[in-house]
């Protein structure tokens, strides 16, 4: 074969072939380079993605750990805050009390010293002076007694005050207080109360607080369009039942056991203190009754309060 021998395929010269070959070569090279580049890019991307994934995994882990730590710290801080608030209140109370009692004490001491001086000095005792001194002492003792009465009453305020309570009327009053709110949300309230319900012996203001809280919870659970049914009825020989049933969102199974725990809330932060139901629970317990809940998520909840017809006053 010589240079002039035409190629078997086509009619190109050797030079042309070589050019073509070179072209092919360069094409291959370009292709090769492109593939390499692509590989490298994808490798880079892969690496980057893997790094990012790993990093984010680590970050999530770290965030979780940090959150757990923060939660723990928050619990601790909350507890410490509560404790320090208690101490602050106690400190304030003690300071106020000391001040209030020290004033009459100072006057009593002054008067007593003056009387002692009079007794020692003037031979015939100046009776008018002495009597005025003794009167002042009595007055200051009464003043101190008033302070301690107030203090005792303050402690007493936490205890129920037992009075005759017309439960039907109390419930009707509280329903009236939420009337505007339910109307705006197109919620209807049905009250079923027997007219012959006995007057019970309990603490009215505390019961009002519970009923209002339960009604408010029912409204929050329904949000819009629904029905709240309030049933008051006689139960067992010496008890009454108040049931507040709503057609709201209900409470999930895992939340149900915690519903009366203090600070337990499913509302977003700042929307609820999580204290409403725990306060209700505390009140009903102090009133010698029970409070319970039955609920199905998505269908609604029923809160049942059971109260003794007659609660005898307890001492502190």
């Amino acid at each position: 074969m010589d240079d002039s021998t035409p190629p078997p395929a086509g009619r190109q010269s050797w030079a042309g072939l070589r050019r073509q070959a070179a072209d092919y070569g360069s094409t291959w090279l370009v292709l090769f380079l492109a593939v390499m580049l692509a590989a490298q890019v994808s490798l880079l991307w892969g690496l980057a993605a893997a790094t990012a994934a790993g990093w984010s995994f680590l970050t999530v882990q770290r965030l979780r750990r940090e959150r757990a730590r923060a939660d723990q710290a928050k619990c601790l801080v909350d507890e410490q805050l509560l404790q320090s608030q208690k101490l602050a209140a106690l400190g304030k109370l003690s300071a106020g009390l000391a001040h209030e009692i020290n004033n009459p004490l100072a006057i009593i001491r002054q008067e007593a010293e003056w009387l002692l001086f009079l007794c020692r000095q003037s031979d015939p005792l100046d009776m008018t002076e002495a009597i005025s001194g003794l009167r002042q002492i009595l007055k200051q003792v009464d003043r101190s007694r008033e302070i301690t009465t107030n203090l005792l009453n303050f402690a007493r305020r936490q205890q129920p005050v037992i009075q005759a309570v017309d439960l039907n009327r109390l419930v009707a009053d509280m329903v009236r207080l939420v009337a505007k709110e339910v109307e705006q949300r197109r919620i209807s309230v049905i009250t079923q109360a027997p007219p012959d319900l006995p007057v019970i012996k309990s603490d009215g203001p505390l019961l009002r607080q519970v009923i209002l809280n339960l009604l408010n919870n029912a409204i929050q659970a329904i949000e819009q369009d629904g029905t709240i049914t309030v049933v008051v009825q006689r139960a067992e020989p010496d008890a009454v039942l108040i049931q507040i049933k709503d057609t709201g969102c209900g409470i999930s199974k895992e939340h149900l056991p915690h519903i009366f725990d203090p600070f337990f809330t499913t509302k977003p932060q700042g929307k609820g203190t999580g204290l409403g139901l725990s306060i209700c629970h505390g009140i009903i317990e102090r009133l010698g009754g029970t409070i319970s809940v039955a609920s199905e998520a998505g269908k609604g909840s029923t809160f049942t309060v059971k109260l003794p017809i007659s609660l005898t006053p307890k001492e502190i």
């Binding site: 107030n150 009453n153 007493r156 207080l177 505007k180 203001p205 209002l212």
Partner: protein, 133 residues
């Protein structure tokens, strides 16, 4: 029936005067205050058994006044008076130790019943205080 001292706190003069007149007709001892601070001032110098307190007042509102009254005189019973029912203020008021809520317009018999019950509660608490000294 036993008379007791009532303080009506409402910024609406006409309403306050009218209710004072009607309570006086029922032989009640009644005084009036047109604002929260005025009521607190009166509680400092005079003895009252039950305060009827309007929730909505300019400046110091009923809830703030209730808080101050309960700090100053925890045994004075307070009946909240409200023109428009608000659940939130209801819950707040009851938590702060209000005796009850009465809606405007007020049925006088209804208010009288609540005043009597509030007074009875105060007497019970005062008795308890005396027994424990």
């Amino acid at each position: 029936m036993e008379t007791f001292r009532i303080l009506i706190v409402d910024d609406e003069d006409d309403f306050r005067e009218a209710i004072m007149k009607r309570l006086r007709a029922r032989k009640m001892e009644v005084a009036g205050a047109n604002s929260g601070p005025k009521a607190l001032e009166m509680l400092d110098t005079e003895e009252f058994d039950v305060v009827v307190l309007d929730v909505k007042m300019p400046g110091m509102d009923g809830i703030e006044t209730l808080r101050a009254i309960k700090q100053k005189k925890p045994l004075v019973e307070v009946i909240m008076l409200t023109g428009h029912a608000s659940v939130e203020s209801g819950i707040q008021g009851m938590q702060l130790g209000a005796f009850d809520y009465v809606m405007k317009p007020v049925a006088l018999d209804d208010l009288m019943d609540k005043l009597r019950q509030a007074y009875e509660r105060r007497v019970l608490q005062l008795e308890y205080g005396r027994k424990n000294l």
